[in-house]
């Protein structure tokens, strides 16, 4: 895989640039935002975009750009931890099922079916009903939703690898299934899992926004894109910019991640090399 070939993939390049920019903005928000986030200015409320407030102000006069910048941290944190939960539990389960087969595999797949019956929103509804609202709920709910996704991808790919000659050969020289999985299966799955992680990451951003929009995600005063949209809803006639910019932030982030995922798939897929 040459660098030139990678850079020739337009989705990959655009996706990488957009994603890096978002990550940079999130990092920047730790040291600098145009205004202190959450600083009220009732006299300057609901102002449309201007030189002083590039993206305008909300119904408390808070600077929308600053809130979007800090909100990106929330989105990224929730999405990445829930991908880690999904991959951390799902991948070992999928690999175990593929390596053992038979009864264990059947039980694991039925467990998958069960988890699959709980979309992130329903899990979040139940967790919130029991423990009350909070960002942790969103992480757990989206993480649970990610488990069967990773388990299925890992299992399907591992199953096809188990019939390959180099894996059979490794078995013939006496390696245990666990060692074969570690030495031969997992390294060959890595690229596939990276692509899936990118896709789940972008879905996680969307899901987090939806959950905080309905009040099941992160709570005030932590800014989050979803709740900014919720607050914009009642102001839609007066200040449409309040709804426009947080939504654009979500679309740009998700679009960047999806392009990156598409590009990574083309770049990493051996069929295209």
């Amino acid at each position: 895989m040459s660098i030139g070939k990678v850079l020739a993939n337009r989705s990959f390049c655009v996706g990488l640039i957009v994603t890096s920019l978002i990550a940079l903005v999130a990092l920047l928000s730790f040291v600098w935002t145009p205004y202190p986030v959450g600083a009220f200015d009732i006299a300057g409320k609901l102002k449309p975009p201007s030189a002083a407030h590039w993206l305008g102000t909300d119904h408390f006069g808070r600077d929308i750009l600053s809130m979007i910048m800090v909100g990106s941290r929330n989105s990224i944190a929730v999405a990445s931890v829930s991908v880690a939960i999904g991959a951390g539990i799902g991948v070992p389960l999928g690999l175990w099922g593929a390596a053992t087969g038979g009864f264990v595999d059947e039980v694991l797949m039925r467990f998958n079916d069960l988890v699959f019956a709980f979309p992130a929103l329903l899990s979040a509804v139940m967790i919130t009903a029991v423990f009350g609202p909070g960002a942790i709920n969103a992480i757990i709910a989206i993480g649970i939703f990610n488990i069967p996704v990773f388990a299925r991808v890992a299992r399907a790919a591992a199953l096809s690898l188990w019939s390959r000659e180099f894996v059979i050969a490794a078995g013939a020289i006496g390696k245990s299934p666990a060692r074969i999985t570690r030495d031969h299966i997992l390294p060959n799955l890595a690229s596939l899992l990276i692509v899936q992680a990118t896709i789940q990451f972008s879905l996680g951003i969307l899901a987090e926004a939806g959950l905080s929009y309905v009040g099941l995600g992160s709570q005030p005063p932590m800014p989050s894109w979803g709740r900014m949209l919720f607050e914009a809803q009642t102001m839609i006639g007066l200040a449409p910019h309040m709804a426009l910019f947080p939504g654009l932030a979500i679309v740009i982030t998700v679009l960047g991640l999806n392009l990156l995922g598409d590009g990574l798939r083309d770049v990493l897929d051996p069929r295209f090399q």
Partner: protein, 315 residues
Amino acid sequence: MLSYATKRALIAILTLLAASLVVFAMLEIVPGDPARLMLGMNATEDAVHNLQEQMGLNQPLAIRYFSWLGGLLTGDLGKSYTYSVPVFDLIKERVAVSLPLAVISLALSTLIALPVGIFAASKRGKFSDTLAMGVAQVGVAIPNFWFALLLVYLFAVTLRLVPAGGFPGWGAGFGVSLKSLILPSIALALPQAAILARITRSALLEVLGEDYIRTARAKGLSRRQVLYRHALRNALIPVLTILGLQFAFLLAGTIIIENVFYLPGLGRLVFQAITQRDLIVVEGVVMLLIATLVLVNLLVDLSYAIVDPRLRGRS
């Protein structure tokens, strides 16, 4: 050997049973006593005790689970803690809003996505393909509730063509009720259509590369004939799978979209129930949605067998 259909149905039933255990257990660990909650702060110990007796709260866990499960099967979901009416009636009222919304959106999304996907695949690599897939790529990234807000701003606030929200109720007339579902279903359908169009296109392209397609072309069939008679049918399996999954997303989406448009559907019911700690309502709605999901996925699995005869004999 079990037939394919029997095995799928058994798995669906087992999944539902396991899910009911999970839901029951989740809400069982909640601190607080429903009887005390219903009677309020000033209730006497005796009254609380009587109500506990009446609601069967003193019985062992297993008995309560089975009587709850039995209730589920007969449509008895218990009584709401706050409204003191049967949960079943509450849900029935709200389903009349949520279900039409989900079904209209699914139909709308399929009607848009299939033609676009087929068109893009037949024009592969041409400008119209690139354009359609570019639009779809953006569509996938749009959160439906944000799209809903934009639609409200454009069509309700600025152009005043449709109401911004609320629902008159089916009793107030079919037309006005349907009108208030137009924006919500468009908002739900378009992002889903973007996903479905992409899947349709790539499934078709995969099939179009097969040997039997070349054979069909070689024996003199036109591109059109090959596309519709041979390729489309074979590309339907991945499309159906996604449709099944999309129904899950649509149901979840309905719950969120109802909040944008103030529609009195299941979503509003469940969020109200959460704030009022009316857990038995939450339990009922969640079980209903899970059952719908499992049922839809079962139907999708069974429809594979109709689309692909090779699956019929297999277990």
